[in-house]
Symmetry: C2
Subunit: 295 residues, 2 copies
């Protein structure tokens, strides 16, 4: 399947629904806007009774089908929860939901349904922060599977919606330990499935350079935080026993000896003009970046 | 915020709802199961009238509040769309939706809402496949922003739910061009925001080794496919003009000259026993892997 990088609800053209003039009766239809993929989007912002909505939706779908429309999207703000059942009865299925709205969709043509799928992954970050005494910043958590185990682990967190991972990891370290840092590299990442509600997870282990060293731990989630000799961190029985943790610790140890090159971020511009970070082996590419700058 | 790696609806303990014996009236409550985070989950599988559901939900929430429960989850299969409005009226908000169900949630305590957020990213893959004549496998797309532009691009696609990216990219190349490949490395990745319905996107550019060379293009999405000298690919005006495409082309060129090391995958086991891939600079870590094997 083609990865379409241009799907966006912000780039729709408005189309008014006119009926042919030779029709005696003017049929009222739902307001809709065309999307860039031959479909239409309906956004029910004003209150509407479901008894009004149902026949309007049926007539509109019939019209869109005649027009050869493809995907039909209905965005229902949570205040319009009274219309969900009616849309489902007209053949719509759920596509995704955010706290304040539900998006339903229906594929009209006989051809293969090419509705893009919903978001599938959460992005997690783990921070490897080492000071000049080869001590690594570690925490003990108040909840979750590590609660009460005495395991010292790297600070971890989840990227907020729309947040770059190189920003997330700095924010999480600051929130949990009060330590300010600078982003250096992605050392490794792990992809995991069925980690929450059947969804997947990408965890990026990042090297950060500390800018401050005093620890002010956050009480809500963190039981304890400290700087710990990196060898002691890696030698913990739990870390040694668990293959994944052990391997990440070895990568961090290797990095601490300057024997490891990860991916570093470069702010760049996409075809549509957005700023996006590209992460890659910058050390191997230095000659290219330099020759580019000299052109 | 702590990245909780243990959230799973599959690991819940069942608790029956008993009322205190000294209550005269036995109040009926919704069936629920406790989750591992002090909350409860309700799954309405059987048909229920919303007039029955509303008072049951109200009484149940009241009881859970007294018990000090935290997050309350209601999973409504799409066949139970008639209950959405009632749940919203009782203070629930949408958490996420899949085609066949809607998950609603309500945070009961006065403390900070720690409901984990919904999936935020889609995972895309782009394939750099080069044969022994330094020709790269390229396609022209039938739809989207590249339609009709004549731009030859790398095959790209979206990872299916639960699919490892090192599997996705092989599948996409096979689907679009018929060429069979083997995964080598992640060369770079790009994080992009607001790319579809406000959601984010991680695109992994992967190096693959071809195992077959005959092209059988897929007609639905692909206009044309061919092997093209890598220098011609990189010299296309569109590629040269767009910063991101240009940089990815330079990374591919560097890799084709064996001057670039990316991240390669290692199948490993997480603390919970799942197999997950860890992607890292394997070349820098070879000594560690070897010393591990010799222990």
């Amino acid at each position: 399947m083609i990865k379409n990088m241009s799907i966006s609800t912000s780039s729709m053209s408005v189309e008014k629904q006119f009926m042919p003039e030779n029709r005696v009766e003017q049929v009222e239809l739902l307001n809709s806007i065309n999307d860039l993929h031959g479909g239409v989007v309906v956004n029910i912002e004003q209150p509407m009774d479901s008894k009004v909505f149902s026949p309007l939706l049926r007539a509109s779908v019939s019209q869109w089908r005649q027009q050869g429309k493809r995907g039909v999207w209905i965005k229902l703000p949570i205040e319009r929860a009274n219309l969900v059942e009616a849309a489902v009865k007209e053949g719509f299925r759920y596509h995704h939901a955010e706290p304040d709205y539900l998006m339903l969709v229906c594929w009209l043509p006989e051809t293969m349904d090419t509705i893009p799928q919903n978001a599938s992954h959460r992005v997690g970050v783990g921070a490897f922060v080492m000071n000049n005494q080869r001590e690594v910043l570690v925490v003990q958590e108040n909840s979750g599977i590590f609660k009460g185990t005495g395991v010292w682990k790297l600070p971890t967190g989840v990227a907020d919606e729309g947040e770059d991972l190189c920003t997330s990891v700095i924010r999480e370290v600051k929130e949990e330990t009060g330590v300010e840092t600078e982003f250096v590299e992605v050392l490794a990442f792990r992809q995991s499935h069925k980690s929450f509600f059947g969804k997947s997870d990408l965890l990026f282990i990042c090297m950060l350079q500390p800018r401050t060293f005093d620890i002010e731990k956050q009480d809500l989630e963190i039981e304890a935080a400290q700087w710990m000799p990196i060898e002691d961190y890696a030698a913990q029985p739990f870390i040694q026993k668990q293959e994944l943790f052990n391997f990440v610790a070895k990568i961090c140890l290797s990095k601490s000896d300057r024997n490891y090159i990860g991916f570093s971020p470069l702010a760049t511009t996409t075809a549509s003009g957005k700023t996006s970070y590209l992460y890659f082996n910058n050390q191997n590419m230095k000659h290219l970046v330099t020759s580019d700058n000299q052109q």
